[in-house]
């Protein structure tokens, strides 16, 4: 069986950071144990040598006619309504680039 090396709470924190989620210290510890045991189970995939090359599935292009998919403004009001934080019709967000 594929033996995944021990997963540490620190590693879990790194992956949670990549996924943009804060997790508590107790979750870090629990997830490290859970994910290690899940990876132990799904690691069975490395025992199975698939004869199949990873061929591209039957990709096909799905084109649409040029033009407006719907009337301009048809959904605007409803979408603005859903903004958690807004300034009039503006979606209000924090600065993306910060200066240290």
């Amino acid at each position: 069986m594929y033996s995944s090396s021990m997963i540490t709470p620190d590693e879990i924190e790194k992956f949670a950071d990549l996924a943009r989620i804060n997790i508590s210290d107790s979750e870090k510890k629990r997830f490290a144990e859970d994910i290690e045991s899940i990876l132990g189970y799904v690691g069975v995939v490395s025992e199975n040598v698939s004869k199949e090359k990873i061929e591209a599935p039957e990709h096909r292009n799905v084109m649409r006619e040029d033009g407006e998919p719907h009337k301009t403004g048809e959904y605007t009001e409803k979408i603005v309504e859903q903004f958690p934080k807004k300034d009039g019709d503006y979606l209000s967000v924090k600065k993306i680039i910060e200066q240290d």
Partner: protein
């Protein structure tokens, strides 16, 4: 009106013959929901516009219009959008999210005059097999309130089972329609990948998800499936040339995977049904699956979290859903997601991020993708060798007790017989197959059949024979 014995088929006759109106029918269901839902928790919300819509359907009936679904009240899983209604996918992060458009399946059913009674409970973002991962509490099994209704479409299945709706729509990523249908004693269909549009379905695993019907009879599942299927320019994965095909009468049984881990009485029910199918002219043939079901499950539990981790990146507290303020943009994301997501969702997002990360991609996601191709070839090979349907029990055991499966892997094992259909894109159905006794309660079990791509008709035809034989 006897709603305990009503089906879509018989209700639509009753409506046509003016035995009752759509408003009366809807009122009867709403009354029943009021009585039963407090014990079952199948519905998260009963829509206050249901009677208005029933009234419109009555006007259409009075003006001479007819249709199998005109005035028929159904429930809908909380991850399928209805314009103007809350759609939360069983999650806190979307608890006040109002849909801004109709899912394609919803607009198709609205055109046909269906009455949506309300939205049903589910595991958060469809991640689970018991609804215990819902942010809004577990849905109890109408057959035994100490047990789960299954999941993730547990609310949908329980709503039909408790006669709180004539039918329901669910979604199935690894068994989420078939397993709860089996636990609740109703019919559940996972259609061919691409047969039904997912526009307006909150995505879990996009290469696996399908919307499908949960009903009391196979005929009802067919009626609902025929109404929702079809190519949709809003979902580029829908098939352009879908047509439902029927098949022959050779049923393959993978004995090598049933010898171990399936409850004895579940297997007895399964064998009895196979035996009675012979009287309908079916040939039952033992087959050997070239892959172990454990392998399929492992492949699934790599691909699904990988896709979930990317799909759920959109929930960030910025454009819709719950927002928790932090000191920076990053903290806004991280805190909103921390507060909004439940534990299993976080676990799968972290797991998905892990298997997709540069250092582990080849060992997990790469391998799993390759094995998925070989599993698909294996199943196609079986169907090309003269087998028309592959039959197994839907699950190895009937419904389990609330809290019984506390570690993730024992819960994941619920999907052992169902994931293959999702990995290969093939259609599969679960049909009620009698009941087994557990602690003095009778619990339903399901009979699952998988057919080749686009052979839904084959599942319906054989499904009706099974119903006739039980």
């Amino acid at each position: 009106m006897d709603i305990d014995n009503l089906t879509i088929e018989s209700a639509s006759k009753g409506l046509k013959n003016k035995d009752f109106s759509a408003v009366e029918l809807t009122e009867a269901y709403v009354k029943n929901i009021e009585e039963k839902n407090k014990d079952i928790n199948a519905y998260l919300e009963v829509f206050d516009d249901a009677l208005d819509i029933a009234c419109q359907s009555d006007k259409r009936i009075q003006s001479g219009e007819s249709g199998k679904l005109l005035g028929v009240p159904i429930s809908i899983k909380d991850n399928i959008l209805i314009d103007g209604h809350i759609s939360s996918a069983g999650s806190r992060i979307l608890e006040s999210h109002r849909a801004t458009y109709d899912a394609t399946v919803v607009s198709k059913l609205k055109e046909r005059g269906v009455v949506f009674l309300g939205r049903t409970n589910m595991d958060e973002f469809a991640m689970g097999s018991s609804t215990e991962n819902s942010a809004y509490g577990v849905t109890l099994n109408p057959h035994d309130k100490e047990r789960v209704s299954g999941g993730s479409s547990g609310g949908s299945s329980a709503s039909v089972s408790m006669n709180g709706a004539l039918a329901s729509l669910g979604s199935d990523t690894g068994g989420s329609i078939r397993q709860p249908a089996s636990f609740c004693g109703v019919v559940g269909l996972k259609p061919t990948y691409g047969a039904v549009s997912r526009s307006g379905l909150i995505a879990l695993g996009s290469s696996l998800d399908q919307i499908g019907p949960i009903t009391k009879t196979v005929k009802d599942a067919e009626i609902l499936f025929e109404a929702i299927k079809g190519n949709d320019k809003k979902d580029s994965t829908t098939l352009e040339n879908y047509s439902s095909k029927s098949g022959g009468k050779v049923v393959g049984v993978p004995r090598n995977i049933l010898s171990d881990g399936v409850d004895k009485d579940v297997l007895e029910h399964f064998d009895k049904t196979l035996e009675s199918l012979k009287k309908f002219g079916y040939e039952i043939r033992d087959i050997e699956l070239p892959y172990k079901p454990d392998t399929a499950l492992a492949v699934y539990y790599i691909i699904m979290p990988a896709e979930a981790s990317t799909n759920l990146a959109r929930f960030d507290g910025i454009r819709y859903g719950k927002k928790v303020e932090g000191g920076s943009l990053f903290e806004d994301y991280a805190k909103s997601r921390e507060t909004g997501f439940g534990e299993e969702t976080k676990r799968r997002i972290v797991l998905g991020t892990y298997v997709l990360s540069a250092g582990y991609y080849d060992a997990y996601y790469g391998k799993a993708t390759s094995l998925r191709h070989s599993i698909t070839k294996d199943l196609k090979g079986i169907f090309e060798s003269g087998i028309d349907l592959i039959a197994t029990p839907t699950t190895p055991s009937p419904s389990f007790k609330i809290g019984e499966k506390s570690d993730p892997i024992s819960m994941y094992l619920e999907d052992i017989f169902t994931v293959s259909a999702n990995l290969t894109g093939m259609p599969a159905i679960s049909i009620p197959n009698g009941e087994v006794d557990r602690d003095g309660k009778s619990l339903p079990v399901g009979f699952q059949m998988i057919s080749p791509h686009m052979h839904e008709k084959s599942l319906f035809d054989t499904g009706k024979d099974i119903e006739a034989s039980i």
